[in-house]
């Protein structure tokens, strides 16, 4: 990943900083999203720091997923969806027409709400990304990437003897960690997670949360969650969305202890939902 290393260095030279003095990775300015006539996301401004976990919380339908999908341009696949405003990653406008979506998505990984491993072997699931991006020149390089990704995702010890088995044969929690390994394998800078634990039981959830905690040292992670406890456990910063607007964003402890906005207060104390 020469390219991403270079951009990373360049980013550090003229790094924008968040209000708290952390270097910002993802910067959104006046982002609006329309689904046809429907104005789903309104004037969102936010700086998301590099290295660390940012949680998006808010009632259902408030636009969390919509905003998340703007960051890797997955909204491009929805014909009726239109995005305005500016989002930069490492100071590079990701909606710049000269930017290659394929490269962007290689740098911004995504994990979905429902585990969606490909109906391929565990090995091929993880090798899929590196193969299409040509990250490995030899078979042994590919094997090294797969092994390292599975190790980082905390799945290696459970699957190392059956890499040839189908990924869909794993348990739900294992599948979700496989999807995380798959995302890590292309060596992204940013990992987007849309309710990654909502289909998992508490034990699998705990494993995924531990994993997120380990990954935060090396990646910029953004996680959408409906669980206040989860947001408190895994995130350093929290952003609260309500009816398509970003109401407030700040350090997680501060948002949960002394929210500045009445709507945030109502939501986290369970008065709206």
């Amino acid at each position: 990943m020469d390219m991403s290393a270079a951009t990373r260095m360049e980013a550090e030279r003229s790094a924008p900083v968040t209000a708290q003095g952390l270097p910002a990775k993802v910067v959104a300015r006046d982002v609006n999203v329309f689904y046809g006539e429907k104005h789903a996301l309104k004037h969102v401004d936010v700086d998301i720091p590099d290295r660390g976990v940012t949680a998006f919380i808010g009632p259902s339908g408030c636009g969390k997923s919509t905003f998340l999908r703007c960051i890797n341009r997955m909204n491009d696949t929805i014909a009726s969806c239109k995005v305005t405003g500016k989002i930069t990653i490492d100071n590079r406008d990701i909606y710049d027409p000269s930017l290659d979506v394929v490269q962007l998505r290689a740098r911004v990984g995504m994990v979905f709400q429902k585990p969606n491993p490909f109906p391929k072997s565990i090995f091929d699931n993880v090798a899929y990304g590196p193969k299409i991006h040509g990250l490995a020149r030899t078979k042994s390089e590919l094997e090294a990437i797969v092994t390292a990704s599975l190790e980082k995702a905390g799945l290696w010890s459970e699957v190392k003897d059956r890499l040839g088995d189908s990924g869909t044969g794993l348990s739900g929690g294992q599948q979700q960690r496989l999807c995380i390994a798959r995302a890590i394998a292309v060596n992204p800078d940013v990992i987007l997670m849309d309710e990654p634990c909502s289909a998992l039981d508490p034990i699998a959830t705990a494993k995924v949360e531990t994993l997120i905690d380990e990954l935060r040292a090396n990646y910029c992670i953004i996680i959408v969650t409906h669980s206040m406890q989860q947001a408190a456990r895994v995130s350093q910063r929290t952003a609260f969305f309500h009816l398509g607007t970003l109401v407030e964003e700040g350090p997680t402890e501060r948002i949960f202890s002394t929210p500045r906005d009445q709507r945030t207060q109502d939501y986290i104390t369970g008065r709206t939902g």
């Binding site: 890797n72 997955m74 696949t77 014909a79 979506v101 394929v102 490269q103 962007l104 998505r105 290689a106 990984g109 995504m110 979905f112 429902k114 969606n116 491993p117 490909f118 109906p119 391929k120 899929y128 990304g129 299409i132 991006h133 189908s166 869909t168 999807c179 798959r182 995302a183 292309v186």
Partner: protein, 463 residues
Amino acid sequence: MAYQFFAALVLLVSTAYVVGHRRALSVAAGRLHDLHSLPAYHGLFSAIGVFVPMLAVFVLGAPLVNWMAQSAALGNFDAAIQADPLQRSVILRDAVSLAKGQFGGDASPELQQAAADFKSVLANGNWAVLGLSIAAGLAALAAAFGTIKVPFRARKHVERFTKIVLGACAVVAVLTTIGIVFSVAFETYRFFFDPAIKGKPSVTSFLFGLEWNPQAAMRADQGAISTAYGFVPLLVGSLLITFIAICVAGPLGLFSAIFLSEYASQKVRAIAKPILEILAGIPTVVLGFFAALTVAPLIRGLGEAYGLNVASESALAAGLVMGMMIIPFISSLSDDVITAVPQSMRDGSYALGATKSETIRQVLLPAALPGIVSAFMLAISRAIGETMIVVMAAGLAANLTLNPLEAVTTITVQIKTILVGDQEFDSAKTLAAFALGFVLFFVTLLLNYIALRIVRKYREQYD
């Protein structure tokens, strides 16, 4: 008789439904919740209770009466005549037509007596069957009426009856298949091994013979000349044409399926898909003369322009048109299975930075493979079994060739040629058609088996 019976059946069954329904309501006495089953189930229960015995009496009784009437008619003749199957059947036929007033010639007194006996036994017997079935129906209705109580589990009985009916349908379908296979197998056995059949080939000369010429057996004076039942040219012809057809329809069908499911907008898809499916609805006769009158001359003209020698009926013309015929089988089914791959698979692939074509090649097609292979198998089976197009466009000459520009013939065409017009059922030529059918059946079975193995090996199952 049958009319009266069915009228009585409909009448009694519908009455039984209404009676059962009413009875359930009345035993519930306004407290519908206490009934174990809904009133409609009690109605159905009574209707079934009447239907089954009535039908049983008829199905068993009607043939019995017929047999009794025949025995009565035959009773007027000598035992020697009765013992001779040929005379028996002649007498019976005459007696029946006399009884119906359709007998032409002069009837002997015995025959007249036989006809009268036949008529009276049949009439009395039929009335008895009718009466008996109505009695059985009424008795069943009375029994059902008595059975209906508040806790009676009518629903269970109706469910069980449904299960039996469905099972019986499945059994009929399976038995029919088995029956067809066995009858074809039997005639094939006769073709090869029945000593009464003259001019038949040995199994090996049939399976491996390189010459097919059954026509010579038609006239006795030609019989010795060059009758040959070599199957190989037909098989090669069938496979050659099918191969050409799949070469045409495979890529066209699959690629248009991919276009429709992944690239086309909703609007284009809504228009294009039905149009493609219309192609499947064109009768093959029409496609056949299209092949013979339009495509074949075109190919010949083209071939001549390049200095090639093209027969006016060619495997290529038939194969091309047959390919057109099977495009919709491939495209429509493949489109369905590709569309059925969950959106989450596409999202997962795109989110990793895969392009559309990478996603299609590496995720969608493998996931849809079993369906795509069955689409191809269906298309191939259709192509191998297709007759009309080949008759018109590929000719009848059993050339053993792999050259698509020559005329060839196929298994199906030969079956059709043999069985069209008059033929005796125990000549080698006629029975050859059964042997061909049997082998054709095996070829398709083999292809299906291979396809199944392929699917097993490469299937990627999403849940």
